[in-house]
């Protein structure tokens, strides 16, 4: 039900990412007066992975609460619950990929063989989202009052990553510190494949993967131990 019903459902799936992108495009084009070429494509490379991560997290935060009724009624593998958030949001994620060719055409950016790295970047994004969904589900059920705060925290990560402005446009200390944000590697790997026309640097793929691996290593066993007790929390 994430996408509603009826014939307009597909339209909503396609318009969501355009709406998200449009806000930042306006910011870049009319407010910040950015001189970066292909600013819209650059932002697209950040918006697409971020939308999946943000939407997965928001969905996962509520995933256990929303399924409270079924959790209280029958036994089934509760490990599926957070992952269902990723699957649900992957539909919009897939729809958002249409932005890439659209922006490439709009800015006259020709595809290069580096585009073959895009599926790799997509895969890393999905792994990142899966790793994030388990702690999100736990936080959502343990601390339901903190759900808006958790979303704001992740949204803040977008702004302390090269989301609106590409990393090569940033200088000084910020340039040195930004790679510590796992989103930085994700955004730059998309830019490398789509905009710059070269393969992503190893750290751009490995850093978010390492973060996802660490997050999963810490939270998956915790969720596995907690899952039998979810009914006590929602009941």
């Amino acid at each position: 039900m994430r996408y509603g019903r009826g014939a307009l459902r597909a339209v909503k799936v396609l318009l969501d990412p355009f709406a998200a992108l449009g806000v930042y495009l306006l910011l870049i084009a009319f407010v910040l007066d950015q001189s970066e070429s292909a600013a819209g494509l650059s932002i697209t490379c950040a918006i697409i992975p971020f939308q999946l991560i943000m939407a997965t997290m928001a969905n996962a935060l509520k995933s256990i609460e929303v399924r409270g009724s079924i959790i209280l009624n029958m036994s089934f593998p509760r490990m599926l619950i957070p992952v269902s958030s990723v699957v649900t949001e992957s539909v919009a994620f897939s729809g958002s990929l249409v932005l890439i060719p659209a922006m490439m055409i709009a800015y006259g950016v020709a595809p290069t063989p580096a585009l073959l790295w895009l599926p790799v970047a997509l895969a890393v994004t999905i792994v990142f989202a899966v790793a994030l969904c388990y702690p999100s589900a736990l936080v959502g059920v343990w601390y339901p009052d903190l759900q808006p705060f958790a979303i704001s925290m992740v949204r803040a990560l977008f702004f302390i990553a090269p989301g609106i402005v590409a990393l090569d446009q940033i200088s000084g200390t910020a340039r040195d510190l930004l790679p510590f944000n796992p989103l930085t590697g994700l955004f730059e790997s998309f830019r490398a494949a789509v905009l710059y026309g070269h393969s992503p640097a190893a750290w751009e793929l490995l850093a978010p993967l390492a973060f996802a691996g660490l997050l999963a290593a810490l939270t998956l066993p915790l969720y596995r131990r907690e899952q039998p007790y979810l009914a006590k929390l929602v009941g």
């Binding site: 039900m1 929303v66 399924r67 009724s69 079924i70 959790i71 209280l72 009624n73 029958m74 036994s75 089934f76 343990w142 915790l222 131990r225 907690e226 039998p228 007790y229 009914a231 006590k232 929390l233 009941g235």
Partner: protein, 245 residues
């Protein structure tokens, strides 16, 4: 079930604590929802759970269904479980009856193909008509219970768990539930039902377990247990329960 118990831990703000949360929040108090309950239910048996509100009936059903684990003791259940532990029966309000039936069938252990093959049967048995393809949030309580029960019928459970469902059903559907329960017991299945409609429960379940504040107080023939619970007059008013073959 041997010496089974379910404990609820609370923090200083009366929020429920899980084992992980006990390491983070300050533990304040415990309450046993169920304690020292030992039970062995033979195939073909029907067991009614009776007792006042808060006595542990729902907790015991959830324990049997595998919804919550025991905090002490041991619980072993063999066979597919069909549970209707609330009138909304795990239904998603934004999904249609058909979509809910498909989801619940798969989660209950049927393959997607088996579930889809059974959808027409679910639609027919639930008697929802066109409502079957409308979102469940448009349903009445009775319609939700009927849908939940129709899904249970489709999954062919070996163990049927019912929790205060009767109150939501019309007389015609109550008869369908009773008939299904009796047929299930005749096939060697087990029925465990909780509620306050003792007349209906006595027809499905020849045995009863009286719970009081999480403890089993009496276990035996339905009329005897009701007599312990509500007095000799109530026991006399109960019809003799039907027994499986």
């Amino acid at each position: 079930m041997q010496g089974a118990g379910v404990r609820f831990d609370f923090d200083h703000l009366s929020r429920v604590l899980t084992p992980a949360l006990r390491r983070i929040r300050r533990f304040r108090a415990s309450s046993w929802g169920l304690r020292h309950v030992s039970l062995h239910i033979e195939p073909g048996a029907g067991l009614a759970l009776v007792g006042p509100t808060g006595s542990g009936k729902t907790t015991l059903l959830r324990l049997i269904a595998g919804v919550i684990p025991p905090d002490e003791g041991r619980v072993a259940v063999r066979g597919r479980v069909g549970s209707l532990l609330a009138t909304d029966a795990g239904l998603g309000p934004l999904l249609t009856g058909r979509e809910n039936a498909e989801l619940l069938g798969v989660l209950a252990g049927l393959s997607l193909r088996e579930t889809r093959a059974a959808l027409d049967q679910v639609a027919e048995r639930s008697r929802l008509g066109e409502a079957f393809d409308r979102p469940v949030l448009t349903y009445s309580v009775g319609m939700r219970a009927r849908l939940g029960f129709a899904v249970i019928q489709a999954i062919s459970p070996r163990l049927l768990l019912l929790d205060e469902v009767f109150e939501a059903l019309d007389h015609e559907f109550r008869a369908i539930v009773e008939e299904f329960a009796l047929e299930l017991r005749e096939r060697g299945g087990i029925v465990v039902a909780a509620g306050h409609d003792h007349a209906a429960m006595s027809r499905m379940c020849p045995q009863a377990l009286l719970l009081d504040r999480g403890h089993a107080r009496a276990h035996g023939p339905f009329a005897e247990v009701i007599g312990t619970y509500r007095g000799p007059e109530a026991a006399g008013a109960m019809a003799e329960p039907a027994t499986a073959g």
